[in-house]
Symmetry: C2
Subunit: 482 residues, 2 copies
């Protein structure tokens, strides 16, 4: 248990930050008619006090963390924050069940954006703002974790992105701190830019703030049941596409750009493949809809670009019910749901680089079949890709697909149909948000699913957000043997 004191310390600090964010909706809407002041204020106060006690009790202990406690820290901090974020929703005027409040909160903090709520257009603004804040916190949380924890843990091939600064030695600490400051700056700057641009393009300030929060974090919560469709503006759809794409790029590359390494972003293999995919998929869908005798090519392209970007970046906004476009686009969105953005961003999914590595292995295989004695080396962005990285990628993909199968089977036990069960599992694990079909498609929501299904999906969202292996390893007996 002594080993857990650094875990307690770091979680407590995070909780203090959380309590400050939780106070914001209370203060902003203090005294207004439909506000939920106490629903925010009491939990915020309670969290602040508990966290302060936690900090006082552990501040003099050593903060050196054994590697395996990194897993405990990661999973427990995400779980605790997720549960605490649900409190204002539970105590609010929404009269949510505990299950629904937890689902909405997990969906928020993991930037999944699946919702059990409807009637967003008439909801209290403090609740809407809180949902957006949760996603915004989740976004910066995952970026920080990517830099500080995941490559160090060597999960799912992410060691590929390890730098000297992710070695967690005393020496690397100043560099790590500087990188963290840079990431926070970029995240805030992009958010501000997005707010401004949305605002001048015709959104109210309230809508601009909320949507900027959920765009940069690729979260996808909106202030209307019609999502981004409410603004009826191709300009806004186009701007949102740009900012969702920015939120899905490796943030450490932005920091490097700021430090003078120009064009590092567009020279990155992952970023190039990501942008290429967005444009190619949007063009194909546009051509398909023109072929289906729809009109206005430019409008079709913007609509396709927006919805493709929304799914590939795992944001999950919708501008319209794209399942109405035809069988081809439904199937295309099904497969696009898996892909995800770049590693090191706020987006989820399997991540572009894993597809690139797999394709690399395939090309290598062809060469080997033709020239059995050829000596081959793989590299990605100029770095050698070891067999160990490939193996850890396979482990990730295997667990992802098994997780998808187990969750789908679990949902089907509650009599959820195949399409809903399958796409709900995928959309939870990839943190995308909407599924396919009439129930949970872009025009539906998750309210009608049975409670047990919501718990399974909440677990799936956390699993997906933490790249699965860092959670599942906690269930291996070997982990708990000294």
């Amino acid at each position: 248990m002594r080993n857990l004191s650094p875990v307690t310390y770091i979680v407590s600090i995070t909780m203090v930050l959380l309590s400050i964010f939780m106070a914001i909706p209370a203060l902003l809407y203090l005294g207004e008619a439909d506000s939920n002041t106490t629903a925010f204020a009491y939990p915020a106060l309670g969290i602040f006090i508990a966290a302060s006690v936690g900090i006082l009790l552990t501040r003099h202990r050593s903060h050196r963390l054994q590697p395996r406690y990194m897993f405990v820290l990661t999973v427990s901090s995400w779980l605790i924050i997720s549960i605490l974020c649900a409190l204002p929703l539970y105590f609010s005027n929404l009269n949510l069940s505990m299950t629904d409040a937890i689902f909405e909160s997990f969906s928020g903090i993991t930037t999944t954006g699946s919702t059990v709520l409807s009637g967003l257009d008439t909801m209290s603004p403090d609740i809407l703002l809180w949902r957006s804040i949760i996603q915004w916190m989740g976004g910066i949380g995952i970026i920080g974790m990517f830099v500080a924890v995941l490559p160090f843990l060597g999960i799912g091939g992410m060691r590929l992105f390890a730098t000297e600064s992710s070695e967690w030695t005393e020496k690397a600490l100043p560099r790590m701190k500087s990188l963290s400051r840079g990431l926070l700056f970029v995240y805030c700057a992009l958010t501000l830019a997005c707010i401004l641009i949305y605002w001048v393009s015709g959104m109210s300030l309230f809508n601009a703030v909320n949507h900027a929060f959920t765009t940069i974090s690729t979260g996808g919560y909106s202030t209307s049941d019609q999502s981004m469709g409410q603004f009826n503006s191709n300009l806004i759809l186009f701007e949102a596409s740009i900012f969702m794409a920015l939120g899905s790029m490796p943030f450490f590359l932005f920091v490097r750009e700021l430090h003078g390494q120009h064009w590092v972003l567009f020279r990155d293999q992952q970023v190039r493949a990501f942008l290429g995919l967005l444009i190619a998929a949007a063009l194909v869908m546009t051509v398909y809809r023109l072929w289906m005798h729809e009109e206005h090519p430019l409008g079709l392209f913007v609509s396709a670009l927006f919805n493709v970007t929304s799914i590939v970046t795992t944001t999950g906004y919708a501008s319209e019910d794209y399942l109405q476009w035809g069988s081809f686009t439904s199937v295309a969105f099904f497969f696009l749901t898996f892909i995800g953005g770049c590693s090191g961003s706020t987006s989820g999914g399997m991540k572009i680089f894993r597809f690139q590595l797999s394709f690399m292995v395939l090309k290598e295989q062809f060469r080997r079949l033709l020239h059995p004695r050829a000596v081959l080396t793989r590299n990605f962005n100029g770095r050698a890709v070891s067999d160990e990285i490939i193996a850890s990628m396979i482990a990730y993909v295997f667990v992802f697909l098994m997780g998808m199968a187990v969750m789908t089977l679990g949902l089907s036990l509650m009599n959820v149909d195949l399409t809903t069960a399958l796409t709900a599992s995928i959309t939870a694990l990839t943190n995308v948000g909407p599924g396919l079909g009439p129930v949970i498609g872009p025009a539906g929501n998750f309210a009608s699913l049975p409670d047990a299904a919501k718990w399974i999906l909440s677990a799936g969202m956390i699993l997906g957000r933490l790249e699965l292996l860092s959670v599942i390893i906690l269930f291996s007996p070997a982990f708990w043997r000294t």
Copy 2:
């Protein structure tokens, strides 16, 4: 072109054998009222003459085959035989379109068993017998290819099963011949045993022969639209389960058993996992149906065992419409469709050993996460599993999943709905037979799909049967550079 003469020689010899098999239905039903004698006799004669010319022209050439021409031989021989097998169907009294005849024939020779035909119960017996013969030939064809070609090509991790005798040197030739004789003996012996057992259990001799042919080959064609449900006998369902399972085990292990290596079959890791899976899945489904208030546990178990075995072995028989059992079983059958039997058998799918290797990599990954400096070795059935084998397995899985996505997108362009498009692609690539949903589920058939969809699926069945990579490599430009 000179390099192609050994290809021509081997294909010609195969064609002679084919013409003999094609003559059988003509001779057996000569002069009967609804027979299609000329539809069999003329193509058989034509093939025999063409093949004889081919043999005469190439018999004095060297038969040493350059490695890369193995790919050409493999793909071209399967394609040619598939097309030739369609001739009697096309010329028969069924009045099939060319597309339907090709689809039925490709589905037969690849032992997929998807059908565009209905009214099987009243169909001319020579046609029914021919469909069964096609599948039986396809079954022994794939076993032979597994031993003689695939491990040598090093595709999809199959080098794991390479023995000295798969090195294709002059020295290994006698051993290879002896192994081939053993395989043929085992295949015929199992077929005979299956005929006998079906016969004494109440099938007519005609039905016993047809179903034995399509059981051992895990093909799944039947003589009735109700498939195995026509016999209304739990005994027959149980026997079929046993023989489908036998057809899905590595045939070279049967040969080794015959040569006195006792229990080699049940000590094999792949076989154990395969049998374990069948029993576990059947038990789970039985419990599920009891929980859903159905009655007669023993009958439910036999029914579950039969249908699970039918899907996992990629036979594709049905005894009833299992999509009526509930959402859970539909989802379970969806995932079972991927798995497939053992490598080295007549069954298709991704094959059990690939799941075992992936699981091995995952376990290794966990150990590495906890003990970064641990030295780990993998082995399967006592053989070391190199990184090269893992890489070739990933290449296979990646191509399989990409192929599934591309085929599904292709089908959706013809306005096929998501469930039908997705499960049709999967069932074609895995050579299972039935898909899910009302159109191509166990109670439906493939007749209503658009022609272009049937061509895509025919290509998919061949791709799946030849483990994808051996076909796709022919489309790589590097292949055709000297």
